[in-house]
């Protein structure tokens, strides 16, 4: 899922200073799991803004803020939303932009999207996927070196690992050592020796349109 973190409240307050009617939008998907855009997070934000004399018109937690259809359906029928001048989105950037698509209100982002990750427990997330558009994870025993190697090296490690930890952060496992250990215990180190991935296509599309299925009559 998309891992988000809350922006500094002072920063949000500064952005809302000259805005009189603010509507708050949360997200029931990833940002709820991160507790950054959940009902609780939206209520807390609303309360905090009110305490700082910001006029809050209302709030809603969309089932999935990044779904333009849901944003349109749930927001455009909401009278408080329509009577607002600004919308504060406690969603990832995709959520912010789904809301932007359906309204001309001033858009304010309340969260920072950080990475696509796994949840270890609520509040502890791992950066495990770069959505690079060309998954090569099967070449490295299910461990994404594109993301988990600090340098994104795809044909083997640099020389910075000590005791299996990365030179960039001594708390962080060297992704290549993880791959190496798995292959070693499986007696398949030759796979690592033979592994070669040529320079990859690193430009990603700005839009993805699924090919329409040809119906067989």
């Amino acid at each position: 899922m998309i891992i988000t973190k809350k922006k500094d409240f002072k920063e949000i307050l500064l952005k809302l200073k000259k805005t009189d009617k603010v509507f708050v939008v949360g997200c029931g998907s990833c940002a709820t799991k991160c507790n950054t855009g959940s009902l609780q997070a939206v209520d807390e934000m609303t309360e905090q803004l009110k305490n700082n004399n910001i006029n809050i018109t209302g709030s809603v937690v969309l089932d999935s803020a990044c779904d333009i259809r849901i944003a349109r359906k749930d927001l455009l029928k909401n009278e408080s939303f329509k009577n607002s001048t600004a919308v504060l989105c406690l969603t990832c950037g995709a959520g912010v932009q789904a809301v932007e698509k359906i309204t001309s209100l001033k858009i304010i982002a309340g969260l920072d999207g950080v990475f696509v990750g796994t949840t270890e427990r609520i509040g502890v997330y791992n950066n495990y996927c770069s959505t690079c558009g060309q998954c090569i994870i099967d070449k490295t025993e299910g461990i994404c070196v594109v993301t988990r190697c600090s340098k994104g090296l795809i044909n083997g490690p640099c020389g910075g690992a000590v005791d299996g930890k990365c030179e960039v952060n001594r708390e962080q496992d060297c992704a290549w050592v993880l791959v190496y250990n798995k292959l070693k215990s499986a007696g398949k180190l030759d796979k690592l020796k033979q592994l070669y991935t040529p320079p990859r296509m690193l430009i990603k599309p700005k839009k993805l349109v699924e090919e329409k299925r040809v119906l067989n009559k």
Partner: protein, 288 residues
Amino acid sequence: MKFKEKLKTDKFIITAELFPPKGTNVDVLLQKADILAKVTDAINVTDNQRASMRLGSIAVCKLLHDKGYETILQMTCRDRNRIALQSDLLSASVLGLENILFLSGDHPSAGEYIGTKTVYDLDVIQLIKTAKILETGIDLAGKKLNGSPKFCVGAVANPNSTPLDLQVLMLEKKVACGISFVQTQTVFDVEQYFEFYQKTKHLPVTILPGVTVIKSVKFMNFLKNLPGVNIPQKIQDRMMSSKDSFKEGIKICAETIKELKKFSKGVHIMAIGIEEYIPEIIKQSEII
């Protein structure tokens, strides 16, 4: 005899490292180069080492080359994409720079540009292969070159990295790509290096273990915290108890080289800031 040719002989090879200045004043650098040229077989020029911003290594190599000194151009994957890397390789070639050392490059998290975007568009294995492809007269896009370069390609290894076998495996991969020489991360523990040596002596490549001069206790404490640097307690104690730690550091470095010479084919000296003392280190090590 050129560095490339010396690699094929039994000659004990000495290389040393110079780092370009932060700025445009090259006076000190050239003075140091004059000293090093007399006692080394080639001078490495670093590429924005530790992710600090400095004068470019191609420019400095060219200045040294014009004085008739042989250089080893260091080139990292950190700052340039595949277009810039290939272009710089061609540039190096037309300037007469033949020896290239490829490295991943220190991550910016350790340097003065912590927030910069890292590139690593190509990794070292891909970059070595790229240099080899350019030599055949085509580029990575498969386009024909009008004039092709010739290189003597080297790479690095870290004998202090653990697990060591993974470093060895990685070095085998680099050798399989056709490199001619290897320079290693700094070695203080000769016994530990010997283990690396035993595991890599079968490889058809000249390995030059790296040594660094510990110029002060303060510098030692800095070095100790660098990734993959291991200073044995014995050496630390000697530095701590010495009345003249500068002199002691030079002595330790010379002794390390002397020990390494018993089995290695050469040495790569990184004197970080006190390169003018390299002749003295070499003298004390009794290697020539």
